[in-house]
Symmetry: D2
């Protein structure tokens, strides 16, 4: 049986996702803010703990991606390459090191969703939009001071978040919350009722290589909305840190198992 993921088959061609490395080119719109550190802490299972500095810092990031495998064949059939996502990142500590951690994420394609299951991103489907800067015509901001970009997230026919970033100038960085290796859990319940977790791994991963353009910073507004099946709004906005825009290219090629069986997370 061949194929990196299911469905596995005689040839492996039907697999929903190809083997890594996975390559990405895209645009990131980030809003960083501070929430109650207790709301972040309760999303960090053992052995993770709060980040030592600024433990209530949160980044919500909208991304407009193309992605592909080493063959790059997806790029000529772009329905298989293009997707958008909105994800929420906090920081945590593990063995005296600071990690980033994605606590909520919505994407709009299946291949992105199950890649997330492999990487420990807790993905759901959502409807994600972000304004695209463009050099011509009145229907886009320029990537320049004064450019205003909007971003929205919805799932299950409810709007969950919306943001506006008004660019003020170049920035030495693209934010600090999503700047560490990721510490993620990979969890799958046992098939037998009440038998706990069949998979309970703490893993780390990060970009194998990355490049990007000049980051831009600006003022940001962010609204989060309640929904019966979401807890994003519990990370309420106490103070906006800033907004950022950057074009990037990234290659991801797997990660490392940190430990197994220690998260004390509910499994059934």
């Amino acid at each position: 049986m061949h194929g990196f993921f299911t469905p596995k088959s005689a040839t492996g061609r039907a697999s929903l996702i190809p083997p890594p490395p996975w390559h990405y080119s895209g645009d990131l719109l980030t809003v960083e803010y501070r929430t109650d550190p207790a709301r972040v802490a309760e999303l960090l299972p053992p052995p993770l703990g709060p980040a030592p500095d600024d433990p209530g810092a949160v980044a919500i990031i909208w991304a407009d991606w193309q992605s592909c495998s080493d063959s790059r064949e997806e790029l000529l059939d772009p329905v298989r390459a293009q997707y958008k996502e909105c994800f929420v990142v906090v920081r945590c500590s593990y063995r005296d090191r600071v990690y980033s951690r994605c606590v909520y994420i919505w994407v709009d394609k299946d291949f992105a969703l199950v890649r997330g299951l492999h990487q420990g991103y807790p993905k759901k489907l959502g409807s994600v939009h972000l304004t695209r800067p463009h050099p011509y015509g009145p229907a886009a901001p320029r990537l320049a001071a004064g450019g205003a970009l909007g971003a929205t997230l919805a799932a299950a026919d409810r709007r969950l978040a919306q943001a506006v970033v008004r660019l003020s100038g170049p920035s030495p960085h693209n934010g600090f919350v999503n700047a560490h290796p990721m510490a993620h859990h990979r969890w799958l319940p046992s098939i037998a009722p009440g038998a706990g977790l069949a998979l309970d791994e703490l893993i780390s991963s990060g970009a194998e290589s990355a490049e990007g353009g000049q980051p831009w910073a600006g003022e940001a507004d962010l609204e989060l909305f309640e929904a019966p099946t979401e807890e994003l709004a519990a990370l309420s906005v106490h103070e906006i840190i800033g907004g950022y825009y950057r074009q990037v290219g990234v290659t991801w090629n797997g990660g490392a198992l940190l430990e197994s069986g220690t998260s004390a997370a509910e499994g059934s």
Copy 2:
């Protein structure tokens, strides 16, 4: 950390899927046919083997579902309850017993997709349609002899399958291919490149309870189409067995681990 699935959180409310039992009410349109038994056998990893009788039998099933948890709250917010799926089932043998096995499946909602990951269904997203019988007006077949129902499947903007079933009369059954407990694998690659599978389970599961209406049988046409990322068309139609329609209700409440680490499937 609470929640049956990711994202896990302080309350568990954000989990993409609630804990089982999962309840289903819906309509099934089935076409059964024979393909080359070798094409079925190559989808059966060890320790599974071909079914002793009619080893090339295949069922392709279109289903129009509502599903919910024990709370039934999803039924009043039906965007969270309704989905459609198309799935392909073969039979296999394991320790002298015959099992059904889903080899390909497409659904149109995220909660259905990740439930499949828990249950060992190799789900992708697709666009699924099937004609609905209705008692009034000219724009629907009646559930009666002469009623004709169509069904289609597409993914990544390509049509993958289409079928027509022309009902001829009541039937003592709804087909025989999807009539056994399911023998499924739950596979997840290791996060470290080249490290094989982190999860490699052979599990069985079936309905905890089920009920249904009178099955109907009829003549069926089925066309399968090639696509660069699918292998459904390799299960080419050698001989149509029959078409079936039935309304059913099902409750699923977990399964049992049969064995672990023996599939010899590719993991990276």
Copy 3:
């Protein structure tokens, strides 16, 4: 050039919609309520006036349809036949007769949207869901006293309306607001800026034939939500009249021009 609608072509086969008659089979979930009659009146351009009785009555109707042309070929390719809609109906008077009038409507397919343009329904795209009663399994209400049905509407990634109807018993009718011939305008601006309307017709139409099952009535809850590009919430709920469910079949085959050029509506 052939074809009932655009694109017209040598054969007419590419037309987005076939010529009437158009046939429908489907399920209707209706909530009737009273709003401020002034909010209804301002949606009635000359020569229409308020209905003489109960001029603030409103019906919001969710419908789950199959539709087809005389060939019925759409029914075997159900992506071309199935759609859902949510529409808002008020009553008005014209020349001493009472008419129904659709003031807002959202559908989820293009053929339904442009049929509305022909018929004078002011259609937009939306995401529409309504609970489906089903005779088997726990994941559906039965069509019986105590059955509870939900319905939701969203557009542009915002929820606009949600309702719950709890069935109490059979009803002699399916509501009274959508029970008259429709009085609709067909408006199209001139292509030249500032040149007013190129088409300004008041037309009437109704079902050429209709049949249906036993209506059910029940208690209803309805919530309407604000959105920057919608005015549905201005028809605020002052008093719920009732909720209804009915399965129906309808044929529509054109209407009649009442008058032209008199609406005094903005055209540019």
Copy 4:
């Protein structure tokens, strides 16, 4: 009653589209080719005739747009601004002048669809994708010689067209087929059966202003696929002329009525 389009209301805010001018910023991928001139001629109703030179020339254009009204408010709620389209343009002659004419077009948003009805574009909904050049990472071509871009079109769950353009170098133009003012018909059938057309206008329009970047040219492949409700494949590819990519900005602000009632098109 206010509002440029339906639904008209007391304030005009609910109108599906705002009044022109309409502004656009976006990216165009064009493939130009020659088909049988008879296939083009049969899409040109009186008083239009074939273009005097190269009457079988066709352009199929994929566009990835942001659009907005004068308020530009849509740009901060990008679900209301972004859409993609694929459209097919031929040339024709009218009173000794050459015009371009869109004969088929698919878009993926409702506001774009009904703007087309105003402008005489025969729009349907479709699923449209085109590769986006990007300056960073392996998952995008650079806008440079050797860059390869793919584009696809699907509707009703069937793929209708796919193209690949391999950029070879800068070009003095972006193709010649879509380079003239548009000559379009605005047609609406009468509401009464058999009564012909209620609106039958030949109009012309073009950009009020336009700007753009350096066009790029390259080699192109194009495949068109049959579908039961489409006639695109009848414009079969006899000879590829070339492929083009260009970023543009455009403002559209209405057009002019050329004549009325002369198309001899079917109306019912």
